[in-house]
Symmetry: C2
Subunit: 381 residues, 2 copies
């Protein structure tokens, strides 16, 4: 599916007006402002049932919708020209979101922005039972470093983010392992530190003594063949991913990181993980580019099968950690072997494999925050 058809599918889905279940259920009036609101904004609000209530001043508009995860929830206008509307109960965690005002799809000016689904757009951060995992706590914090550097492969500058652990600058003689961590389709290098909260997750795990310190590198893995331009479709992206992305990663990014950070520059101390498309890239690179990564994580992006390891003796011999995860809603009706069973099967073949399932979440960031939280403590042991 290319970007344009993806957008059309979204628009068609969005045109289905949804009568919220909330109308037919008792709504608990304990609404409070979201942490993803702009400074000083009261709306959007959320209640303990995770129903979102939005508001926009549009005195001359005729039809306005709240649009959340591709569903249009109707809004109604009051005497002062404010439109109000509310959603069905949402999953915990981060969701993309906007408004439709007389046919125009626009961001809600009351919310903060993230890059996702191919654009910077507004978001809703729904409170979660386990938000302590990714909350900003009063603990020592690492740094998220924004870096540009020249890529010989592309002939252009690349834009990456690097997490360094809190103690990184305390002792300049200590060297660290590195996790290369990839986003999904229609996302970019900002995803893991913003939606993914990887800095806070690591700071919290380290403060609680649950994981070892390591560096995290976040690259843009959405690389199209130059001839295809920005409108490349998913197939061509994956094809480019199978050729260009491993080349950029192994010949440009890893050497840059190893020469600019105090890494332990060997396979034993280098891991690769990703979500969705980033998980597919992780799988592809770990099976086809031996010599770089000894430990891998695939979040909502496939599995490693017995057939995979039997046709890749080097993987079978040298991989020291394989972590597979999904949101529970993604694997409710598996076709054939479930990922959990696949992981069990490669464990029986001697792979140090783990399976994690995020409760009550789908193909969304809450699944991937939790996946990182479970994966990080297993790394570099």
């Amino acid at each position: 599916m290319n970007r344009k058809s993806f957008a059309i599918v979204c628009a068609v889905a969005a045109s289905l007006v949804h009568m919220p279940q909330a109308a037919s259920q008792q709504v608990t009036e304990d609404f409070r402002s979201l942490s993803s609101n702009q400074y000083g904004e009261q709306y959007p609000m959320v209640n303990s049932q995770r129903i979102v209530r939005g508001r926009i001043l549009a005195p001359a508009a005729h039809e306005v919708f709240l649009q959340i995860n591709g569903i249009n929830y109707p809004m109604t206008k009051d005497a002062d020209g404010y439109w109000m509307g509310q959603s069905d109960p949402l999953d915990e965690g981060n969701h993309y979101y906007g408004l439709v005002i007389d046919g125009a799809n626009v961001p809600d000016p009351a919310s903060l922005f993230l890059y996702g689904s191919g654009a910077e757009r507004t978001q809703l951060e729904i409170p979660a039972q386990d938000e302590y995992k990714y909350a900003l706590r009063d603990v020592p914090h690492g740094q998220i470093r924004e870096i540009y550097f020249h890529s010989n492969t592309t002939g252009a500058q690349r834009h990456i983010f690097v997490y360094t652990p809190p103690q990184y600058d305390d002792d300049v003689n200590v060297r660290y392992p590195v996790l290369y961590l990839q986003h999904g389709y229609t996302e970019n290098e900002t995803g893991w530190s913003r939606q993914g909260r990887c800095g806070f997750i690591m700071d919290n795990l380290l403060a609680d003594g649950k994981c070892l310190p390591f560096i995290i590198v976040m690259e843009n893995g959405e690389i199209s063949h130059p001839a295809q331009g920005p409108q490349a479709n998913f197939g061509s992206l994956m094809s480019a991913a199978n050729e260009l992305f491993p080349k950029i990663l192994t010949q440009d990014v890893i050497p840059y990181i190893d020469s600019h950070f105090r890494t332990i520059p060997d396979k034993a101390h280098r891991a690769l993980a990703g979500l969705s498309m980033g998980g597919m890239q992780t799988r592809h690179i770990s099976l086809n580019y031996p010599g770089y990564f000894s430990q891998i994580g695939i979040f909502s992006g496939g599995t490693i099968s017995v057939q995979d390891i039997n046709s890749n003796p080097e993987f079978k011999k040298e991989n020291t950690l394989t972590f597979i995860s999904y949101g529970s809603r993604e694997v409710e009706n598996p076709r054939g072997q479930s990922p959990k069973e696949t992981v069990q099967a490669i464990r029986e073949q001697g792979i140090n494999a783990y399976y994690y399932e995020s409760p009550q979440t789908a193909h969304e960031w809450q699944t991937w925050r939790r996946s990182l939280y479970e994966f990080a403590p297993l790394l570099f042991r």
Copy 2:
């Protein structure tokens, strides 16, 4: 003016519909997409006269405006439901921008976001004759580091950005001077690295051998008295700025930076600068908190007068650089002594003072980018 009245003034200004001069002049049809557009978006576009043409799909809307710097430019609808409109010629540089759709003020989904005028909002990056100063070039790049740390003064986490020069990690025995660089009213700690492009400005100056390497620290100086909450007005902000901000800066931020970065931790190697409100803070702190900063920059935020230095002997004795700047449109009709004359007067009193005027710009980021570009080469000589 508090935030609410500021917003109302903007809304009133915005309600004045403006018939673009462009209608009565020859428009050159050499429009091209802006660098501030979202990935793959053709519109908004700009031509060589710096006229912006915007577009939005809003098939059921009745009245749509382009809103740029508080002026509403009418848009007209085509048969496919797209609205098009164009502005008057704009100044070079960065401008905040949005749409008004049937009375709703919303961001343009086709543009990227920045924090300014009290919210994350969309922007237009108008090409400039001198954009080489702040362009991303193929030169060694420093890092912009995002950091959270505990403030004893506020009892909460603070969020800062730190620029380290390209060579910072090459030799861990070298120590660097530090510039503390402040944003303006209704802006925050992200302004200087995003709108201000301070990282690229420094990388370019360093690559061209025009300045010495130093660290830049960017804090949020918009600190209200806790009792007043987020709706604090400008007066209370400045009052807090005069008490709380110097305390946070000198007792929390400087010690954090000096203990986590390889600084030269003395007054001779510490500078303070800011734009607008940040310039007023710089002036206040440099005159009333001796012992911290030997070099200062005030961009569009006032001057240091002969009376100031005569009533502050320590400033007169120990200040080694005073840099004052304005956009040319800000000082067209000075009341009384012009800032240029004021700077000349303190120079005659022995202050190492410089005045810079940004051509054809107002109270806007292009003035401040150019100011930093002129100021940085003078620092730490």
